[in-house]
Amino acid sequence: MKYLTDAPIDSAALVRSVVRPSDGAYVLFEGVVRDHHEGRAVESIFYDAYRPMAEKEMERIVGEVSSRFPDVTIAVLHRLGHLVVGETSIAIVCSSPHRAESFDACRMMIDRIKMSVPIWKKERGPGGEEWVGWQGGRC
């Protein structure tokens, strides 16, 4: 797997994998498990994925963002499984000669990923557990 991992994410290694001598800036975004969601306390999150399709979607998104920002080098890694508060679920690194493109590309990456990559999370807290987004999805 290129974009998914079951192990803790090593952001420093991700950064090293993209930053080139011609780059003057990079932006690292990390999504972190936080202790609350819509008013409920959260203790941990279980991340599930349709793995082969998630890999394909990630690849498609990296391609889309790269063609919009050709000067930007991109790396992204999403962790799956059980994560506790404070652990990193996703890291995205965008590096470029000038900073503006890295900010824009990094933001576009996370927005797109949240929109379409088949990854789900089940939040666990004192009140039980729940798949995020499902309850509001009735038609």
């Binding site: 991340y47 599930d48 990923i113 789900w120 798949w131 009735r138």
Partner: protein
């Protein structure tokens, strides 16, 4: 025709398993499979419209006819990141 139906996230919890091997009439669509699921699992009763639909790991409209050997998955609201 034979179609594999994969269950993920909340749908796997509801179905209690990872996948079904379906035997469907020619011309069946993902929407028809969703209707079968709604009839079988009362937790899906309120969800008249199918979620996003993937066939062979690509998003497709839920009225796209299925073909023999397809791998079908309903994609509940995604929550990556």
């Amino acid at each position: 025709m034979k179609v594999s139906l994969l269950f993920f996230a909340v749908l796997r919890d509801i179905a209690g398993r990872d996948r079904d091997e379906l035997d469907l009439p020619d011309g069946a669509r993902p929407r028809d499979v969703w209707e079968q699921l709604r009839a079988r699992y009362r937790e899906l009763g309120d969800y008249r419209e199918p979620p996003m639909t993937a066939v062979n790991e690509e998003y497709v409209p839920p009225d796209t006819p299925l073909r023999d050997g397809d791998e079908l998955a309903f994609i509940p609201p995604v929550a990556g990141g």
